[in-house]
Symmetry: C2
Subunit: 661 residues, 2 copies
């Protein structure tokens, strides 16, 4: 018997005592379901604040406070905060008036509707909104979408009445959709639009908006209805003889003035009000100029009469029956979603910088109610646009009261000052829109995408080109399509990596990341980095069997210790479904046929439960499920290689020599 | 100074020397892209076999062998294998003839097409298919889908010519779609149909198919075109006076005979041929009986004349222009997808049990070509049905040659034996279909779903009820919808868990799983179990801030050590995009404002690269990124609490006391 390696290796205390993973106790189905539902729909746990209170009265107050965020800050509202909000509100109003008129023109709606839209919805948001920084109003992209989506059903030039009613209806549906999403706690649908796609889409929309302004800048009478860059360029350069230099000069002067103030305010943040007040200033100067030189007779178009008075009711204009309803419904859902995406992103980013929290679902309800009420009071789609909110923040707003102040200021304008806008030249509005749109282009974001993630950049570019070269709908479809495909790829192709032992440690780490990690002879350690479920189970099956085949080929080539055990590190497997348990079962069966042992390391309680219930645990045997990858490898080495202990000793000696050398 | 705790704690060697995580070297974009594309589209690495060979000639042979799997087994095909395949092929043919006729009746197509469809496509598959066990033929669900989807455009009773042409066209498009998916390596789209939804859908379709057979069993002349259970029951019981007892008796006898043989063969797997030959036997007996008693005069409908001869060409019948093309295209895509899902699942499960590998994409090309060629030779949609393949396996098939044998046997039937089917009663075909459908109901799978995963069961039930109570299209939509929603929920709501230190170990494990895991005072360790990207970044933001808030509230309530450090265990974060890096950046900013340190443990190379490129790494500081959660906690304890060392000592004493007690 001399010379033969010892067969029965006494188990070392470490390996024998290595604690195994317990199967968690079964919980009632309803418990699991309610925990699931809570995590899915109420991740922010809105009931905690209510449940914490004692007594019915205090609970009711807490619930009201949850529903109406204004009740949170109103009781402790100070004169000082009011002063800040007053300043901020008036500053924003000075931007809101010219921007509102401009965007309404962009939406092919009566200019006065831009002012209406800054009044009622802002009041609603002041009561319902949970952001302190958002200033409510119309946006350029939303305004552009209305004629693009509704124009075919009711051309604004031919049937302005029907077009306006459809716009109200679409706003109403957008509000219902937004509020519905919020009430059903489905705020997360907005998250499925990837940031990259939004950057590209917004940039494309801004380009299109700027291109449309060439009509106003050049004083053209006829223009194309298409929005793509080719059609617009053809329309512009096919009628060079119709260009009006008066209009162009005034527009360019305005634009240069606006851009200079923007640049100045950016360099000196203290003088934020310069750029905030610049649109109003150019509006006033432009109007006075036109009045003095009778510009309307020299090819400079003016707004004309604006009706005095605050918002008239439009509840009776809503079209709630087919055939026109369907297009309004579609427009409402699309614009509502785009509006939410912008409003929530803006609110969230300001909240993050001031370190408070904005609740997606509450915001959705607030935007939705603002649009529902707005659609009945002659407003069209509003959300929280970036430019206006940034001015609001810079002006030092403290609470949503600044929205109320802005609303009052706009109402005063509506009641008394509308005649002043009679001579306002359209070209100034075009300049204001272009200057605002240049802020929507997020060049730094695109550069960051290029640097950090080329695929994200491609998504961004795809959405941009879709909008610019074809139309807004195509661009939006591309953006959504790219986002969904990215999600599905993330899901369908999870990462698997081989782990190796780190020197002087019991850690096992990815061998492609750490060059010093060494594989254990005869043991293949694989880490799976995703929940295993139907969408990736068959990929994982192929990928894992490829890992094993490659390892066996490598071993055959090098003549090393043959493969005895495959350890799956399940630490990162958050969940598993029936396809996943089937995968583990099939894997253990096919490994068994090859005389290879399967071991699991660090499975979570969810995974243990599912494996237990599907009887896969019985197949693998409790003995081969470990808390740690290291334990699994040690146990495999001790139990599977008694006859081949020799190679193990050789390996150990090599390790010792390496350490000492 | 006496009595004050020591401020400057000397760093222990362990914590100071704890190795940090290296930032991987930048690789060229094209390298990354090609690796990505390979992992996405070629996870099975099909070029390896070709690249391994030396010389152009041998590589060409390897490539041909890859394209035509029959070249793999033909060169070493033995007489013994041929004998097995002969037996299997003839056995399957004896099932294929009656099943083919029955399913063609179900599809409202001429019965002879069922035989055609077992001839040409089976030959194509024998050359192209990579499964050794699959037997090709038509399926009940596919056959049922044709009248359901094409019936509105061309009612088979009123315009059988157009209906047949549409069926060929739909088969053609199904083939193009399947082969296209395979060639574009998009085989994984099939994986997005969850197993649970498929079980439910198939069960529902089987129910509907069985209900439809009541017409044949009861010998009814008029029947509803609707497939839902309510309409069928109403149709059946509204004309009880039209029921024919002759038909019912013959059908029931047949059905009982078939079920008994099935039961017998299941109990004694050796006598598998009894149940395989039973349909043919009942067909023969039924035909002879009807011929003898002139059953066609007593309310027993018979097939009638079948044309002699093999498949005529139908290439000229394909309708490749609107308006009829669109419905055929839609039908083709839907049935093609369903066919793939069944064929691939069946092939894969037999391959798994015999421990060889079936390639999804190759199979798709094989099915696709079989359908394209079939559509030009008077066949309709074929795939690899379960019942036929199971008989094939039981009969001992060795290679795809058994398909060729079956094809020849069917061709012989077509050439010489069709007159024998003149007197075959339809009611026998109904009995054959019902008996086959009872094998499609996967009750054990449904029970397993209920036990293992209640949500999966709900998905299964939803798809089932959709098919049974409304129609097949609705059921399919429900199945797909449920699958997609499940994927999105998996993605949008990743798990985060708090980790605690395991006693007598340096491991940190989930505290909800291991009761003995203990939190470290002042440090919150969170594990994120998913790639962080746009679809879950905002949820994770809310969830992590809730973890921190809850921890702070808990600390306030218990008066423990205040929170000093949040450690994120990134070991399971497989990837990160720009939204994800933004999340880490925002988190570190907002924690910084609260004077809490953020630390990352065990980030992967992908994550490190992205964090480095997006400059987030600079913000967090290399010092706070660790290979191990334990290192991070130790380092935080040593560096953040010099003034509060006291509590640490108290905690240590408690631990020591616990160990000794």
């Amino acid at each position: 018997m001399v010379g033969m390696p010892v067969v029965d290796v006494p188990e070392t205390p470490v390996a024998a005592a290595a604690p195994r993973v317990p199967v968690p106790q079964a919980r009632p189905f309803l418990h699991i379901l309610s925990a699931h539902l809570k995590e899915t729909f109420f991740p922010d746990d809105p009931f905690r604040a209510v449940a914490r209170e004692d007594g019915h009265g205090r609970r009711a107050v807490a619930a009201l406070r949850y529903l109406f965020p204004c009740l949170e800050w109103l009781p402790c509202y100070t004169l000082r905060a009011l002063r800040s909000d007053l300043i901020a509100g008036v500053t924003v109003a000075s931007l809101a008036v010219p921007q509102g008129i401009s965007y309404a023109k962009l939406a092919d709606l009566p200019p006065i509707m831009g002012l209406y839209s800054s009044f009622v919805p802002a009041l609603v948001y002041a009561v319902m909104g949970s952001s302190r920084d958002l200033a409510v109003g119309t946006t350029a992209v939303g305004s552009l979408l209305f004629p693009a989506l509704l124009g075919k059903e009711a051309p604004p030039a031919e049937n302005p009445e029907l077009y306006m009613h459809l716009a109200f209806t679409a706003t109403f549906f957008a509000g219902v959709f937004q509020a519905g999403l919020g009430i059903l706690r489905l705020g997360f649908v907005v998250d499925f639009l990837s940031q990259a796609a939004i950057v590209g889409f917004m940039g494309g929309a801004a380009t299109v908006v700027c291109l449309q302004q060439l009509k106003g800048l050049l004083g053209l009478q006829h223009f194309t209805r298409a929005t793509d860059v080719v059609a617009v360029m053809r329309a512009v350069f096919s009628q060079t003889h119709h260009w009006r230099w008066e209009s162009l000069v005034l527009g360019c002067c305005c634009l240069i003035f606006l851009l200079m103030t923007r640049f100045f305010s950016k360099r000196r943040p203290k003088f934020f009000w310069v750029s905030a007040a610049a649109p109003l200033a150019s509006l006033i100067v432009g109007s006075v100029l036109v009045y003095l030189i009778h510009g309307q007779n020299h090819g400079i178009e003016v707004i004309g009469n604006l009706k005095k008075g605050v918002n008239p009711s439009s509840a009776k204009s809503l079209i709630l029956s087919p055939p026109h309803m369907m297009v309004a419904l579609k427009t409402g859902i699309i614009t509502g979603l785009i509006g939410l995406a912008e409003g929530i992103a803006v609110g969230r980013s300001f909240a993050m910088s001031k370190n408070y929290h904005v609740h997606n679902n509450k915001e959705m309800v607030a935007f939705g109610l603002a649009n529902i009420v707005g659609s009945c009071t002659s407003c069209y789609l509003t959300t929280g646009p970036f430019s206006r909110s940034a001015v609001n923040v810079n002006a030092g707003c403290k609470t949503a009261m600044s929205n109320a102040v802005m609303a009052v200021a706009v109402a005063v304008t509506l009641l008394f000052l509308t005649p002043l806008f009679h001579y306002t030249p359209l070209v100034v509005l075009s300049a204001i829109i272009i200057s605002a749109m240049l802020g929507v282009f997020d060049f730094p974001a695109a550069v960051r995408l290029w640097k950090v993630d080329k695929l994200d950049f491609c998504a961004c570019l795809g959405a941009y080109l879709g909008v610019v070269l074809d139309n807004i709908g195509i661009g939006l479809s591309i953006a959504v399509g790219i986002s969904v495909v990215r999600i599905l790829l993330f899901v369908a192709r999870p990462r698997t990596t081989a782990l190796g032992k780190m020197p002087n440690s019991t850690m096992y780490r990815r061998m492609d990341q750490y060059a010093m990690a060494e594989s254990v002879p005869g043991v293949l350690v694989l880490q799976v980095d995703a929940p295993i479920f139907f969408a990736n189970a068959s990929y994982l099956r192929e990928r894992i069997s490829r890992w094993i085949n490659e390892e066996e080929e490598r071993i055959k080539a090098t003549g090393e210790q043959s493969l005895q055990c495959v350890v799956l590190d399940m630490g990162a497997v958050a969940g598993i479904d029936t396809s996943g348990t089937k995968l583990i079962e099939d894997l253990s069966k096919s490994l068994h046929m090859k005389n290879i042992q399967i071991a699991l390391a660090n499975p979570g309680s969810e995974v243990m439960k599912k494996l237990d219930m599907s009887k896969v645990l019985m197949r693998i045997d409790d003995e081969w499920i470990f808390q740690k990858v290291g334990d699994a490898c040690d146990y495999a080495l001790l139990n599977l290689f008694p006859l081949l202990l020799y190679s193990r000793i050789k390996w150990l000696i090599k390790e010792i020599l390496k350490k000492s050398g």
